[in-house]
């Protein structure tokens, strides 16, 4: 019987669903709550054939994946893939270099260059940190004055990552974006995240609805996954009225509760089945 190491820090609906899916598929799960014990840097041995990283903390996700990979355990997603996906600058540069359409984005390492970047792109712009999620600290900015205020506030946040500013064009989405899920080389399910607010994350009140997956969306999602090396992911896609699909973000530890709720698709089982196949290779 295949054994999966479920590596996590906080257990939510998603982790419970993965355990239930594993039980139904007769897959053994080694539950590894990373905050419950200390781990040796060398000589770590876990009784599992493959690991699934589900930590909410970006820092813990990368660090604990590195730890388990060093012990010889294959972890999905890999530490490299998680690192690339967590960093929006890395993600966007790699996607752009691979020819994947993304929103026009400029990075600025100072307040002054951020203002210049916004003027180059043309207001309104979206200002976001390089590392963040659930729409946190993402601002829609209409003019220089507002931008300066936001940057001034960020200057008082004691975290150097917030001193790097991603200035992005405001894509005029049709009141929604698309979350596309990838598992291996399959794109099994997608949802629209609908909101009258310009931030459409379900964590910020966006409403999930089933979304069709056409060939273009499928190809784009698979290519984006391949570029970052993620095996299980949720990819955020904008629909630009003129350019079509634009990949905005890639999420390496995706939430899927709302997706399962509105589509009925058994995404946890899909993940477990993938892990079993990979473990047997």
């Amino acid at each position: 019987m295949v054994s999966i190491a479920l590596i996590y820090d906080i257990a939510r609906w998603e982790e419970r669903a993965l355990l239930e899916a594993s039980r139904k598929l007769s897959v053994n799960v080694n539950i590894i709550h990373v905050k419950s014990k200390a781990f040796p840097v060398d000589g770590l041995r876990e009784d599992a054939d493959i690991g699934l990283q589900r930590s909410l903390s970006h820092t813990i996700a990368v660090s604990s994946t590195v730890l388990f990979e060093a012990s010889g355990l294959r972890v999905v997603n890999s530490s490299k893939a998680i690192s690339l996906a967590q960093d929006k600058l890395w993600t966007l540069t790699l996607l752009s270099r691979a020819g994947i359409p993304t929103p026009k984005t400029v990075v600025a390492f100072s307040e002054q260059s951020a203002v210049e970047a916004a003027r180059i792109l043309g207001y309104p712009v979206v200002v976001k940190p390089v590392n963040g999620s659930w729409g946190k600290l993402v601002s829609l900015v209409e003019d220089d004055e507002t931008l300066r205020v936001i940057l001034e506030h960020k200057a008082f946040i004691n975290n150097p990552q917030f001193k790097i500013h991603l200035i992005q064009e405001y894509v005029r989405k049709p009141g929604r974006d698309i979350r596309v899920f990838v598992v291996g080389d399959e794109v099994p399910v997608a949802i629209y995240r609908v909101s009258s607010h310009w931030i459409t994350n379900t964590a910020r009140g966006g409403v999930a609805m089933p979304a069709p997956i056409d060939e273009g969306l499928r190809d784009l999602a698979l290519k984006a996954s391949e570029v970052l090396g993620v095996e299980v992911s949720g990819i955020d896609v904008f629909e630009d009225p003129e350019r079509g699909y634009l990949v905005n973000e890639v999420n390496a530890v995706p939430d899927f509760r709302n997706t399962v709720a509105v589509t009925g698709y058994d995404f946890p089982a899909k993940i477990v089945e993938y892990l079993v196949r990979e473990a047997r290779k």
């Binding site: 906080i10 419970r16 709550h33 909410l56 967590q86 999620s133 659930w134 946190k136």
Partner: protein, 55 residues
């Protein structure tokens, strides 16, 4: 079903038999609680959302 005490309101919290360490339980007083299992004992603490949390 095991019980633990809410550190905010002091009332009992029903804990599932198969509760996981790190599991989030929503209590009727409105607080989200994180399960800590220490020496076999189930403790609850208010869930503190990390700055780097996300997908």
């Amino acid at each position: 079903m095991p019980r633990a005490r809410c550190p905010i309101c002091g009332r009992d919290v029903q804990v599932p038999e198969d509760v996981l360490p790190g599991e989030v339980l929503d209590h009727e007083c409105g607080v989200s609680l994180e399960v800590v299992i220490s020496d076999g004992k189930i403790l609850l603490k208010p869930l503190e959302i990390g700055e780097d949390w996300g997908e």
